[in-house]
């Protein structure tokens, strides 16, 4: 955001200039003094650039100094300084040229993110600001084009294996039946590179909508929708290369997502039941050893498209309930005395634009739990276009959450998130915009557009529609509906 105070250009003074163009009054700049109250700075070019960290912006940062009568002033001293970021301008003070311009190069520092550079003219009152972003490189390392017969859906990575799901609401390959959602198994070698292995077909279902391995690595849990066998499926990972079916719980209308959480020593799945009677369905998975899934609770959600996803952490379940917004439930935190078997509503906030789809509660440095990131899934054409923003809620007060910031990317909308909490980087799957990395350090307010610090189109410009990401060590794994499963490099420290 440019924050510059521009001088008031008086029509009277302009007229005087014309009248006395050949006279004693100088109107062309160069010799007119800069007063302490009237001098103005105008940003000519160089604002809103990105450059790799430790690199230099492509364009110079240029300001023009104008006199009280709006004419360029030569020889004025412009001071350049940095208010945010660790970069440096090529000069800290510079005299304007014959056109009243001062220009510097800007060298990014070692840190990613926003740099704010100020320029002020000696003797003047105005300050012009530039916002530049230090970015990093996210690139493909291995994989891709490895789930050719079907469109891909979710991913989960654990240990030396990764699992991806299939989205079969429309055929991708002639002769391949859309009935029978499948799990593709990938082995990850010592470098993290994936190799395609076994496949597991979930008969009687159309799409595998969500996939997650329990933290202990024992169970692979999948939610499915479509067909006549839709619901929750659990596989044993005693042999992680070959998931073995354990149990299922059929849910008419299907489950759109599932999120695993351990609460009070028990493993639960928080699932989003599809409309017409949308609901949060909580399943007790603590008896999987005896091949049993137990329904622990059902919490109806307004049929405003209903529930799309959940995020469970610290005993709080965040329900991303489309136009209803985000519903917060106590499922063991204690703030409202709730539990997994008896969730208690805490609060609800309607995010701007509605279409609340997914989220991540960011636990940052110094135990900060201030921000909840919410993905808005706007309209799209699967495989090519998408829309929607990321909305940032301040949930410091769980009873009164408030929206404080947003991230908008033109021509695309977000899907699922993963957060590098130590380094305060949000990785967002962004459908046709691939994978986007956003600096979420510090205070978040207003438009976060200048905080994009990394971007990649895993499948190229025409072959990318990214569903989800997961960070594992220095590798960032993505699942793309078109491109399949791929290992990327995360932003380097």
């Amino acid at each position: 955001m440019i924050q510059t105070m521009k001088p008031i250009h008086s029509r009277v003074s302009s007229a005087l200039c014309l009248l006395f163009a050949a006279g004693a009054v100088s109107c062309g700049g160069g010799s007119e003094p800069v007063t302490s109250t009237g001098a103005g700075l105008t940003v000519l070019s160089g604002d809103h650039q990105t450059a790799f960290r430790n690199g230099t912006t492509g364009q110079d940062l240029v300001v023009e100094v104008n006199s009280d009568s709006a004419h360029p002033v030569a020889g004025a001293t412009v001071h350049w300084f940095v208010t945010v970021g660790d970069g440096a301008p090529s000069a800290s003070a510079q005299a304007t040229d014959a056109h009243g311009q001062s220009r510097v190069q800007y060298h990014m520092g070692a840190n990613y993110g926003l740099n704010v550079i100020g320029a002020t003219v000696e003797g003047g009152a105005d300050t012009a600001y530039f916002e530049e972003t230090a970015i990093g490189s996210i690139a493909s390392i291995a994989g891709g084009n490895n789930v050719e017969q079907r469109y891909s859906s979710d991913l989960t990575v654990h240990g030396d294996y990764a699992y991806t799901g299939s989205w079969n609401w429309f055929p991708r390959t002639a002769g391949v039946d859309t009935l029978g959602a499948s799990i593709a198994v990938f082995h990850l070698d010592g470098t993290g590179a994936p190799t395609r292995g076994d496949s597991v077909v979930i008969r009687g279902t159309i799409t595998l909508s969500d996939l997650q391995v329990s933290d202990d690595g024992q169970w692979l849990v999948a939610s499915t929708e479509g067909g006549n066998q839709e619901g929750l499926y659990v596989y044993r990972l005693t042999d992680p290369a070959h998931p073995a079916f354990v149990a299922r719980y059929l849910v008419a209308a299907g489950l759109h997502t599932s999120t695993l959480a351990v609460l009070d020593g028990k493993l639960y799945a928080f699932t989003a039941k599809n409309p017409g009677a949308p609901a949060l369905m909580v399943f007790d998975l603590s008896q999987l050893a005896s091949d049993t899934i137990v329904l622990a609770a059902t919490v109806p959600v307004p049929a405003n498209y209903g529930l799309h996803d959940t995020f469970v952490r610290g005993g709080i379940a965040f329900l991303f309930a489309w136009n209803t917004g985000v519903e917060l439930y106590d499922v063991g935190n204690g703030v409202k005395g709730g539990s997994p078997t008896n969730p208690k509503a805490i609060s609800t906030i309607a995010t701007s634009g509605g279409q609340a789809h997914n989220g991540w509660w960011f636990w940052g440095p110094a135990d900060s739990k201030q921000y909840l990131f919410v993905g808005q899934e706007g309209p799209g054409s699967v495989g090519s276009t998408s829309s929607g923003d990321i909305h940032v809620l301040d949930v410091s007060d769980l009873l009164h959450p408030a929206e404080v910031a947003f991230f908008h990317r033109e021509g695309a909308g977000p899907h699922n998130f993963w957060m590098d909490e130590g380094r305060q980087i949000l990785y967002a799957a962004y459908y046709n915009a691939g994978v986007v990395a956003i600096d979420v350090s510090g205070t978040l307010s207003g438009d976060l557009g200048a905080r994009e610090i990394g971007h990649v189109l895993p499948g190229g410009a025409q072959g990318t529609y990214t569903w989800g990401v997961q960070l594992v060590g220095t590798s960032l794994y993505d699942i793309d509906m078109l491109d399949g499963f791929r290992q990327l490099n995360a932003l380097a420290p």
Binding site: Y151, W169, F170, P171, R172, T173, A174, T178, L179, I206, G226, G227, N228, H256, N274, P275, G276, P302, A303, N304, Y305, G306, H308, W322, N323, G354, Q355, H357, E377, G378, P379, G380, S381, V382, G383, S384, T385, S386, S387, M481
Partner: protein
């Protein structure tokens, strides 16, 4: 199904029981001033074959389509009118009707059955000084938008643009004003479209949608139409779906021609959603001529269609919607030609065997994963229908015309026997 029993009862007993107490006169001026009522019925027994359906194979089927019983009535010199139409398609074709490019209300590549109560409208119209006529209509029926119900038009096959060019089966409140050749109608209604034949409009949403239509009749038999509608979340009953911004323009001509009666309709429609994120448009022209026993007709349309995720049944989309995304768009070009011959008709009963042939092509529009080759195994379609249309005491009622527009023009499908 209880309603199918009701249908049989009305079809068999209704005409006999009702005939004694009704007059056959339908005259806008109703000079006698006596109340009147008319019970009528229509239906088509149709055998349809399509060369290509989802998953590639050909398919044929036999249905009773467009089975409708109508009750129309008037009183107070026709200032008070009732238009009722019961549509039994929910019982006779619950899985819809095959047709290239047809879609809507959860059906894909099939036309959905309409709701049992297609039209239940009470309207009042009064003349005012200065040649003005004003009216108010309320009930369940058509919003004042777009062109005629395809059931009132020449072809048996519905056009692809049905959901761009008509808004029907809503709870409506319509005000109309007529001054000489100008008619202006404005309506409030519920945005939600039906999800099944038994479903009533969601009255809690009444008034969330609106439309306005201007009709101009510059000379007899010519009607120019322009209309605009804002329809809230038609495809998601609780109201979370996209709002539709619709525009329609048309010219309709119904004139004597070559010793018979000529009919011509040209229309354009445009539909925009999410501030133009999705746009769909349609062009259509259709014509018919009725003379003696003959009724040849032809239609061409070029219409865009949103493509949806399909369920295990390839003719069905996912309902209720989970989100606002589609998988792409398609453009359908459909030629339909037909020829009917009226047999043994009287003014009370019309029997018209006809044959109808359609040829359609589809192509993908823009991005998205939709690919007609994958779903159909090709991009061209033939459709053949051989059918018999039965009209019993039909008087050419154009559905969707209420109050000041009631009685204007004649439904083309009933033209031949009305000329007897």
């Amino acid at each position: 199904m209880r309603l199918s029993s009701l249908a049989a009862t009305v079809l068999l007993l209704g005409p006999a029981s009702a005939a004694a107490q009704m007059t056959m006169e339908i005259d806008a001026d109703s000079p006698s001033g006596r109340p009147w009522a008319l019970l009528s019925a229509t239906a088509i027994t149709a055998y349809t074959w399509m060369s290509r359906v989802p998953r590639g194979a050909s398919l044929d089927e036999f249905h009773l389509v467009q089975p409708i019983v109508m009750l129309q009535a008037g009183a107070l010199r026709d200032r008070l009118r009732f238009e009722g139409a019961i549509d039994f398609e929910g019982a006779t074709m619950p899985n819809g009707e095959l047709g290239p490019g047809l879609w809507g209300e959860g059906f894909i590549d099939r036309r959905h059955p309409h709701t049992y109560f297609h039209e239940l409208i009470l309207s009042g119209a009064v003349p005012l000084p200065g040649g003005l006529h004003v009216s108010l209509a309320a009930g369940k029926g058509f919003a004042p938008y777009g062109t005629d119900d395809p059931m009132n038009r020449p072809a048996e096959l519905f056009p692809v643009n049905h959901h761009w060019s008509q808004i029907l089966e809503r709870a409506v409140l319509i005000a109309g004003v007529q001054w000489r050749p100008l008619v202006l109608e404005a309506g409030l209604f519920n945005g939600d479209e039906p999800e099944n034949p038994s479903q009533w409009p969601n009255l809690s949403r009444f008034g969330d949608s609106r439309s306005i239509r201007l009709l101009i009749h510059p000379i007899e038999g010519v009607e120019l139409q322009g209309s605009h509608a804002v329809v809230k979340s038609p495809e998601h009953r609780p109201g979370a779906g996209s709002d539709n911004y619709k525009w329609s323009a048309s010219v309709r001509v119904e004139r004597p021609l070559l010793g018979g009666r000529g009919y011509l309709l040209g229309e354009w429609a445009h539909n925009s959603e999410f501030d133009g994120f999705f746009t769909f448009r349609s062009w259509l022209i259709e014509s018919a001529w009725s003379g003696g026993r003959q009724r040849p007709y032809y239609r061409y349309e070029n219409t865009d269609r949103p493509e949806e995720s399909r369920t295990q049944n390839p003719f069905r989309g996912v309902r209720p919607h989970l989100e606002n995304s589609i998988i792409g768009s398609s453009r359908w070009s459909v030629h339909t030609a037909g020829y009917g011959v009226e047999l043994g008709s009287t003014r009370r009963l019309g029997i018209e065997p006809f044959v109808e042939v359609s040829y359609a092509r589809v192509r993908k529009l823009g991005g998205g994963i939709y690919d007609p080759q994958l779903i159909y195994g090709g991009d061209s379609f033939w459709r053949l229908t051989t059918a018999v249309r039965l009209n019993w005491r039909m008087q050419g009622h154009r559905m969707g015309r209420y109050g000041v527009t009631a009685g204007q023009g004649v439904a083309d499908t009933q033209m031949t026997h009305l000329m007897k």
